[in-house]
Subunit: 341 residues, 2 copies
């Protein structure tokens, strides 16, 4: 992909994304929710979760796996839980539909969980985390993927790349947000090294015999590793359990089997926990939010970065000059739209 | 400390621990709760959280920091939250007193949180996690400590060693439990290397100029590092926020300042989240618990270990032959008891 960038207005990017998704057969709700997420990622220069993902959405629809017009069904009967059945549609509309109940329950009980089930998932978690922090809540989200990652001490894949994301609302600035895979590297990174014929760093993966490998082809045939050794592996297992069996949905291994080799966006669940600082803190709200700010200042004042700082800097840059899009990607998106029309 | 081990009956270990704690001035409730925790750790051969910690408890009491007879106060007025004010006593009695409310709220709402405030904390989190899984619940616990750990990209300490622990109940075997510090190594490990004049592995710490160091003395003067680079650092920040400002308690930096160089057990808060699979799963309980077992089997069948496997093996060994105690430690504990009597 060429790295020549064009800058297009935010609204144009949204329209292009929405038009492609509608032309691919998605309902309006799905198209809007997905367009919002991928345009936000593109704006923040998270290109791996940006407009490029529209091509994957179109492919996932064309392979007949996803229901492009699925209407999510909400079950909010358990006091502290919102269950949203995405009915084998994409995840983002289900999130949008369930969010008001999640916020309402967190406001009322202090803590609440949302389980999104039976959804095709390809998006970053941080846009969802940001939306929850906008309601003044603390948020934690997890999701499995496909079983590409070996547990510590093992050599066969069990876990997905299993991202975990967290958000903390900040009164006077962008929220504190992180969102990372519990695999040592993204699968796409290894694939890029393979295509370029370049070695991968040791620690990313093992070959099919369980030996460390710098060979990207052998890594793709073997297993990826988690970040942080046995600690990362333990976290990845937690994510499988919390965003799988706990919410009656598939583990990464089951999701991979369900895909039947189609190679589309993985189908599985997602769990989101929201906590309301107002309920936890009452009249101590202001003092404790300041306490958190003191900690952030202790990090940034020594020149270290907060997790999303690069992303927020990109956002600030691009809000005036427009959304950066790779010229070749823009052409591909336009021709995709033309071919669908 | 000599590694010669003696094996003493579980009840004898409990009595010795309780007697020492009572002699040090702790109330019966505190003595029982602490004895249970340190004897469990000793039984499981987690010696760093075992009987050895009694010496630290006695020192913390003798320095006049902790209230040895503090009576925890419970505020369960928010529907999904149990707040337990430990009133500057040790944490374990507060946990024990709040646990029935935490379980009750999780049973009712599906998810609930317990905030323990103003507690002196020295114990492993896994014994608490195990108790929650015994009630059939999934559990997640976090706590700060003292600010010894630098954020990724920084060189000055901000975070504590900040442990995170998780548990998943298993119908037919010991629960799936992990409990690890988000620092790359335990502070005690670095201290042991310093005393032995041995270099520490790179990646554990930096010197006061922010450079990687293998020198344990320079590491103690500089800062420890988190495990897993920027990902571990992000998790450590999350733990500071969730187990600090969110529950109206001190961050690791504040806790260290509060200690005023006394070097006793750190005083801060702890957050525990409990989730009830029965509420999440309803009639799908059995099927989804089996799904989790399938994942555990995929890990163990390839020769990889589950996080607490070594601990459970030690427990099984020691249940019949008795609790292993280092001879020198046993002598020290007995003479401590004699000196307090």
């Amino acid at each position: 992909m060429s790295q020549d960038l064009e800058y297009i207005p935010l609204e144009d990017a949204k329209c292009l994304a929405t038009d492609i998704l509608l032309a691919a057969g998605l309902s309006e709700g799905h198209a809007e929710a997905i367009a919002k997420s991928v345009v936000s990622a593109q704006r923040d220069e998270c290109f791996s979760h940006g407009l490029w993902r529209l091509l994957g959405c179109v492919a996932t629809v064309s392979k007949g796996k996803v229901d492009p017009k699925a209407v999510p069904a909400i079950d909010a009967s358990a006091p502290g839980i919102v269950k949203v059945d995405a009915k084998f549609g994409f995840s983002l509309l289900a999130f949008r539909e369930g969010l008001p109940d999640l916020i309402g329950k967190a406001n009322r009980f202090g803590i609440a969980a949302m389980a999104i089930n039976h959804c095709y998932h390809f998006s970053a978690l941080w846009p969802e985390i940001e939306e929850i922090t906008e309601a003044g809540l603390v948020a934690l989200a997890m999701t499995p993927s496909h079983s590409w990652v070996a547990p510590a001490g093992g050599k066969k894949p069990v876990f997905g790349t299993n991202p975990i994301a967290f958000g903390w609302p900040r009164p006077a600035s962008n929220p504190f947000v992180f969102d990372f895979a519990t695999s040592a590297a993204a699968r796409g990174e290894i694939e890029l090294h393979r295509r370029a014929g370049k070695p991968i760093p040791l620690g990313w993966a093992i070959d099919s015999d369980g030996n460390d490998t710098a060979d990207a082809t052998k890594a793709m045939e073997g297993a990826m590793l988690t970040f942080g050794g046995h600690k990362g592996s333990a976290l990845s297992a937690m994510i499988e359990l919390m965003a799988g069996p706990l919410i009656a949905d598939m583990t990464s291994a089951e999701s991979m089997a369900f895909d039947e080799g189609a190679g589309v966006a993985p189908c599985h669940g997602e769990i989101i926990i929201a906590l309301d600082p107002k309920v936890f803190l009452g009249s101590g709200m202001e003092q404790n939010m300041r306490r958190a700010e003191d900690m952030f200042a202790a990090i940034t004042s020594q020149g270290a970065r907060l997790p999303s700082q690069r992303r927020y800097e990109a956002r600030a840059r691009n809000e005036s000059r427009g959304i950066p899009v790779q010229t070749s990607l823009l052409e591909e998106l336009k021709s995709t739209l033309a071919s669908l029309a």
